[in-house]
Each structure stands twice: as C-alpha cells, then as structure tokens.
C-alpha cells in the first residue's frame, strides 16, 4: 500500500522452485489416486482380501508419495 502511494510497482520476489514443486506434485497426486482407487475396487469386490491388499496399497502410496516429497525437499534446498 505504501508503495502504491509512492507510485511504484512492487517487484514480485520469491522463487520459482515452489511453482516447479507444484507441477511436480501432479504426477504423484494422480498416482496416489490410482493406487487407492484400485485398492477400494479390490476391497469392494472382495472384502475378505482387505488384509492382503492393505500393506500393498500403503506401500504403493508411500512409494508414489516419496516422489512428491523429494520435490518438496528440493524446492527448499535448491
């Protein structure tokens, strides 16, 4: 607001890293959705398979999520 009075446009500061991270998170986001969709489908069709499917689903989720989190870490580190 102060800058406006002085007739200046404030420069945008920050880092493009975070935009890159946002883009990088799309992939793992879709992947996580697909994994849980498959898990829910499997349990809905065969409820007794739940205990078998659960570790597999969470494992896949963890692996996909790790990619997004590397993006987050790199967004802060770089």
């Amino acid at each position: 607001m102060k800058d406006k009075e002085e007739g200046k446009v404030r420069n945008m500061e920050g880092t493009l890293n975070l935009v890159g991270f946002g883009l990088a998170a799309i992939g793992p986001g879709i992947a996580t959705g697909l994994i849980f969709a498959a898990y829910i489908n499997g349990v809905a069709r065969q409820p007794e398979a739940r205990s078998v499917l659960q570790p597999i689903a969470f494992l896949g989720f963890a692996l996909a999520e790790a990619l997004a989190l590397f993006g987050l870490v790199l967004a802060f580190v770089l």
Partner: protein, 262 residues
C-alpha cells in the same frame, strides 16, 4: 527460500513460515546439544518406557484398560507387521520393529500435542539415524543368512532375465539397495513431518496475522484457525501412517533379505 525470508519477511508485515523456523536455538546458552528436538527424544523414550512398564507390570488374564492398550499396540506390530510380512522367522525382529514403531509414533505425535508441538522427525538427522539402523540390519541379516557373495549375487543378478539386460539392471539394483532405500526411508519420514508442521504454521500464524488486520480480515481469521484445526487432525492421521509405513518398509526389506529361494 531462506534468503527470500531474510530480505522481505522480517520487517513489518507477514512473515511466511520457512525452513528457518525449524532451527530452534538451544535453551542453554552455548550448549548446542540442549535443543528442543533432543529434549523431545529423551522425553519420548521416558514416556514410552513408563507406558509399557505400567501396562505390562500387572499383567493379568483379564486385562485392565492400560494392559489392553499396551497389548493391542504390541500385537498390531507383531501380527500385522511382523508375522504377515516377514514370515516364520519374524519373532527375532519384533523387538526392533516394535521399538521403531512406538518411537516414531510418539515423536511424530509430539507435533500436535499442545505446548510441545514440534515433530522431532522434522529434523533430518533423526530419520537418518533410524534409516541407518534399518539399512545395516537388513543387509546384516541378508549376509548372515546367505553369505556375502551369494547375497550380493542375488541383489545384482535377478534370475530369469536375458544376459544383456544385466548391463542396465545391475547398476539399478545396486543403487536401489544401497542408495535409494535408505534415502527414501529417511526422506519420506522427514519430509512428511516437515511439510505437515509447515502447513500448520502457515494456517495458525496466518490466522493470527489476520486478527491484527482491519475488521474485514478479522472476520476471515476464524476460518484460517478452523482449517488449522482440521489440518491438525489430518496431521494426526499422517503421523500414524508414517510410523506405520516406516516400520512396514523395514519389515519388507528384512523379509526381502531373508528370502532364500533361487
């Protein structure tokens, strides 16, 4: 990111939370080991010990509430993580898995307990150490079980693949076992806790800052706090899930090292 906060953030106006918020100063002057995360690790060990000693001291056939709580945590780790994943040799690894699970769980949950509110695992050194333990344990178990050469051969040369493909597969497999596994294990836990804490900081500090604004902004600030509270519950879920996943992956790696066919 850090320089951005240093240049823009620290004057009047809103200071967006950043990685610098995790570098808490030591509370005893000049003693760099007297920091909050280290204190919390000690606290977690004391809390876990007291809880399980109390829960198991008066063990009875008809369990008290406390004994039931302790036993359900134990049986979850033993049955769902040990027996289901590792198989018939699981009993040797249950102490490690159980320690890992409770330690990570309590240290994560510190992130949302009022007055403590700092997840220990958002400092990268703690997950590094835990991942190093897992790394050495599963390799030790594999080498002990199959001998060094056979274990390395099993890692490097997957059976049933045409010979030329080994040029591609072998370096990948080596990298998976010796770099990617410990790295992902520690970074996953760290980044989850880091991101979760940052998320809570954004909404709570943002809500507080809105309260100091004009009347229109004051009216919005309850929504920021409400989202902050909702995210606290979400964080609780993530914290339990991460403790589970860390232990599950440890069990899977150990199980992979123990496989003795081929």
């Amino acid at each position: 990111m850090l320089s951005y906060a240093a240049e823009v953030g620290k004057d009047e106006g809103f200071n967006p939370p950043d990685a610098g918020d995790f570098n808490l100063p030591p509370f005893i002057e000049g003693n760099e080991f007297a920091t909050k995360p280290i204190l919390l690790v000690f606290l977690s060990v004391i809390l876990i010990s007291i809880f399980f000693i109390l829960a198991s001291r008066k063990a009875a056939l008809v369990p008290s509430k406390l004994q039931f709580a302790g036993e359900s945590v134990y049986s979850f780790v033993r049955n769902d993580l040990g027996r289901e994943v590792i198989g018939h040799e699981f009993m040797r690894f249950v102490p490690y898995l159980f320690t890992l699970f409770t330690f990570i769980l309590v240290n994560n949950i510190f992130g949302i307990i009022p007055l403590i509110q700092f997840p220990t695992m958002s400092r990268i050194s703690f997950p590094y150490v835990l991942a190093a333990f897992t790394f050495f344990i599963f390799h030790y178990v594999g080498i002990r079980k199959q001998g060094f050469l056979k274990y390395m051969k099993e890692i490097m040369f997957l059976p049933g693949i045409p010979k030329p493909a080994y040029i591609l597969i072998t370096p990948l497999e080596l990298a998976t076992y010796f770099l990617v596994r410990p790295m992902t294990l520690s970074l996953r836990l760290f980044a989850n806790m880091f991101a979760g804490h940052l998320l809570l900081l954004v909404f709570i500090l943002g809500g507080e800052h809105l309260l100091q604004g004009v009347i229109g902004l004051k009216l919005i600030s309850p929504f920021a706090f409400a989202i902050g509270i909702a995210l606290t519950f979400f964080e609780f879920m993530v914290q339990c899930l991460q403790a589970y996943i860390f232990t599950l992956l440890t069990a899977l790696y150990i199980a992979g090292a123990l496989v003795d066919e081929h």
